[in-house]
Symmetry: C2
Amino acid sequence: MSQEYRKMWEDLNLDLDAHDALLGVLGKVYGDIYMAQKERPGGMDYFNFVMTEIHGLRIKELLEEKKQGRKIIGSYCVFVPEELVLAAGATLIGLCSGADFATEAVEQMLPRNTCALIKSSFGFKLGKACPYLEAADMVVGENTCDGKKKAYESLKTLVNNLYVMDLPQMKTPQGRELLKSEFLRFREALETFTGKPITPANLKQGILTVNAKRRALHRLSSLRRANPAPISGLDALLANQVFFYDNPARFTKSVNALCDELEERIREKKGVASEKTPRILVSGCPMAVPNWKLPWIVETSGAVIVGEESCVGERGTRELTEESGNSLEELMEALVDRYFRIDCAIFTPNQDREDHIREMAKAYKADGIIHYGLQFCQPYTVEAIPLEKVFEKEDLPFLRVETDYSMEDVGQLKTRIEAFVEQLR
Amino acid sequence: MSQEYRKMWEDLNLDLDAHDALLGVLGKVYGDIYMAQKERPGGMDYFNFVMTEIHGLRIKELLEEKKQGRKIIGSYCVFVPEELVLAAGATLIGLCSGADFATEAVEQMLPRNTCALIKSSFGFKLGKACPYLEAADMVVGENTCDGKKKAYESLKTLVNNLYVMDLPQMKTPQGRELLKSEFLRFREALETFTGKPITPANLKQGILTVNAKRRALHRLSSLRRANPAPISGLDALLANQVFFYDNPARFTKSVNALCDELEERIREKKGVASEKTPRILVSGCPMAVPNWKLPWIVETSGAVIVGEESCVGERGTRELTEESGNSLEELMEALVDRYFRIDCAIFTPNQDREDHIREMAKAYKADGIIHYGLQFCQPYTVEAIPLEKVFEKEDLPFLRVETDYSMEDVGQLKTRIEAFVEQLR
């Protein structure tokens, strides 16, 4: 890395040694998992570049935006409406939570029995290793699961400007009212913080920008219906991960360019695996960069992943925000409608998610479903059990995996997943 | 047990063998823990009787109420307003969740990493061992923690008439609105179910009845300020547990009779332990019958418990419902106000709980605090860590315990608790 970045990281008060070590591991893991893949589309070069520059060029861009008076807003969840952030002339970025870091310090603040994702978000703060978090002018938490809801009380003591958004637990009219009042409160908070009023025009532009990102991913998803699969699950996951970090317009363009290439591949019947390769739908908890453990195991076990029913995947992006409104009120209602449809396991009941899994399995011609549960993530691990029963009854093989970010269980997982894939042939 | 009870249990479709075994263990544990105590107040005889008849006489009473057309409503949480249930001419009872039961069957329905309390509630259903649950005409669940919220989705497939009440996560005006709309919905559901309209008169009577139970426990609590402690923590906990099962008027009378005796003891400076015994405040998760593990360890380790900051304790009973209203609307607002003050760890932030612990420690002259966290109970185990830091800063010794219903860790816990008590001398 150039000296310029070192100076930048130093100014962000990162722990340079720990951060160097992190980037070293990240580079190696990326090489071993991503660069080792065969038949990768050329369009993935862009994402390779993004990954090598994940703490470099992108941070530099954000700091330049800050210099020009633009605020950087960090978030940990797909319930934070990027449309509003863009409308307020600010930039939304997903914050680091995909790797174990500073675990000993984390366990002084959180119970050991906390999911890896939450622990990771604390670890990157305590270990001073997330330049996104350090560059953020405001961090937005949300009352999704108990773990996050209660952990934000402690994160508040570590992070300067933590804003917590409340969320409903049921999709009742009262639940929608709560979400609406929280979105209105967030709109006000953004306006106050950025000093820029949110108008129908800039909100509409925000909606168009975010919808364009989503549409590009929809296009990518729909191409994965093809057999042979034109892109690996690992690469598609990466695009879904970069969705949270990248400049929206550039991201949209890059995904669309990738899709042009995939369409070509499909015409040529070219794929990343043979037509007979078992096709897997992965469903469950989000996978933040660099959490590639499960898809890596799956795709080195003779299967190909054809869809992600996940916040980092279709759960996060499948719904568009209605663009037709003209008044601020209409556009806000459209936002509330859109986010209220997210079928996160924090909702009870959550029939929509079961329906969506079924729909995805059919659309992507999945031969089996692997449910990815982070250990101690109660909403998803509890929901997984009835889902397993339902899909087994429908003769859709379903494998329930519970894991964390460590590499200790890789051998055991590989054995289970290989056996599962074998049964799909 | 008499043949009459066996017939009753059989009619309730209990698994008689499993239930016999349960009662056998319960009787033995009660003997070993409760009857082995010294200097017990005579007033505890009533509670001994209640315990020997817990699945006998009380169930018989409930079945007789049912015969007379009264509905039995079961609940798992202090957020279910007994006042409304009584007003609708029904009886509210707490459901079994204090012991491991049918664990293997439970773990087919819930993740292993689920707290013992939730697993227990499933175990008693799957193992057909809770006559309260089988006698209940309606079971009320509530969206408190993730574990319960998501588990009710599966419990619905086991229990005939499960009604789920939504709850807020923040004490905002929107949160209060949600609670109010849920209480109004519950009132309607009760009226429809019982066929008895809730009127200002019967709601006021319900409030008076439940407040009387609470006032009796307030009296009991205030007597525990005395040194030497006039009653053990185990016995006081038992009274708090029986609060959830017993006939309200009889319970109130029995607690008051016990208090008369304790006042006498205090005048005579008679106690269950010497004046120099370290005094402990227990704070945290609820302890349902027969979960006496922690207080038993504490009180056989040279300390006496002087207060319970718990749902089965002051968190559940300290607030009265305002009785002065005359219209249905006023009384409903009073109910919402009362329940909205409960400082359960599901709320964020939850400063009230910290304040209440401090207040209790001072009022009951506690020398130290033991925080009781059920393993995998995220709201309480996360909250315990900042609480520990706060109270240690205030020189109030604080021991954080995380455990379950098994006996495996008793030796280890006893060692830790003995060392903690030693340090308080």
